[in-house]
Symmetry: C2
Subunit: 245 residues, 2 copies
């Protein structure tokens, strides 16, 4: 058996998320179907660094799988890309150590969230960014970000539907970058809870709009209760950008 590590990108618009669900079009089921076909019907399962939700995109998701085939890396990449639908692309394939694990070996991730701040709707952004028509204070959002950096219990910024018990995570960096009407939020950290980036962005936007003060972040963190944070920002603005090993 050989273990392969792949970096993949996908447009999540037409998927019910990453993970296999009965009767739904998911990224995992598309890739597993192609691999199973390449293995003449023998089922091949893949493992990812983590799930992404419906409509969420990936520029650098990482998966691994095992195969008795020992094709050169270039050949794997070409074969997979020739069979995958156009909204998934394999960016690289690498033969890796037999004990490499896309999820358990990940020691950090970068997520980016794109918002376009304009009174006009842009039909080209509707699936790729969150449309926010009102003014936003970058200064207020950057001040709020400073309270989020470092190691905290992020229970307030985690969907109540999660099963994870330990909600302590470390956010290394938060950058908020404006380019014309586009505002991108870039988060790196050792791990992110379910819906965490979307709730962080939703809360930062409420601060940027003036509805809340930047210092409220301190209180929200202390409460350890989802109800104190802001709304969950929509999925189509979110990109799993990079996984660190």
């Amino acid at each position: 058996m050989n273990r392969y590590k792949c970096i993949i990108a996908y447009d999540g618009s037409d998927y019910s998320g990453y993970q296999v669900q009965p009767k739904k079009r998911t990224v995992q089921s598309q890739i597993e179907a192609i691999l199973t076909k390449m293995h003449k019907g023998t089922s091949v399962k893949i493992s990812a660094s983590g799930r992404t939700d419906a409509g969420v995109h990936a520029k650098g998701q990482v998966i691994h799988f095992d195969s008795p085939l020992s094709l050169p890396e270039q050949k794997w990449e070409m074969a997979l890309n020739s069979m995958l639908p156009e909204d998934i692309s394999v960016l690289s394939v690498e033969k890796t150590a037999p004990d490499f694990h896309a999820r358990f070996d990940a020691n950090g991730k970068e997520y980016r969230y794109f918002l376009y701040q304009s009174p006009k709707r842009d039909p080209f952004q509707r699936k790729y960014a969150f449309h926010y028509p009102y003014p936003l204070s970058l200064e207020a959002m950057r001040e709020a970000s400073s309270y989020l950096l470092g190691t905290h219990d992020f229970s307030s910024f985690c969907s109540a539907r999660t099963e994870v018990e330990d909600k302590v995570r470390t956010i290394e960096t938060i950058e908020i970058i404006q380019e014309g009407e586009s505002i991108s939020f870039r988060f790196t950290g050792n791990g992110f809870l379910y819906n965490m980036v979307r709730i962080l962005v939703g809360t930062l936007v409420e601060i940027g709009s003036g509805k809340r003060h930047p210092e409220e972040i301190v209180e929200i963190l202390e409460k350890k209760d989802r109800r104190y944070a802001g709304k969950t920002a929509p999925g189509q603005g979110l990109y799993l950008w990079k996984v660190f090993y």
Copy 2:
């Protein structure tokens, strides 16, 4: 009756082009249905600066229509945008002269064509640019462009399916701009024939790839025969960018 001029943008991905066709989803039929609803069932027809094909986009298409309603311009814009699907956006509404005509008064247009030149597929570009995986010489394409500038009979760069008789047009400018893996072709001129921009780009790409010499443009123009030009580049890379009056 009031005549209104609107600038609209649309993502053409999910449309069978601009113009009404039986049982097809088209941009014109979407807008006319909304206007007819606003006029309590009285049919309202719109006229555009010109058609766009299936999958072709618009950043600045212009249409006009007549209405007995005299809403303020802002109200028209809000009402239309609230009812239109998310892949069409009304950028502006202006009350105009009763004899203004979106098509006959246009005295120039700008089209842009986007290509991404990369060995890797990009799932985010598949509906918005033409993927070309091989190297291209910008120098050769720019030299070829210089032979296209000015007033010529563009019969060789026009779909054989056209009904237009006079195929003389003037191209004012052609700019070819590379930004990272993206190459944009920007054309301005007094008018463009059916499929003209896509055939121009298809031919320029054949020149950029080294399959043809830049000077062949002169011969292709002289032949006045579609068969001498290059392939028609795919529709998803094309944007009607601006209409001049």
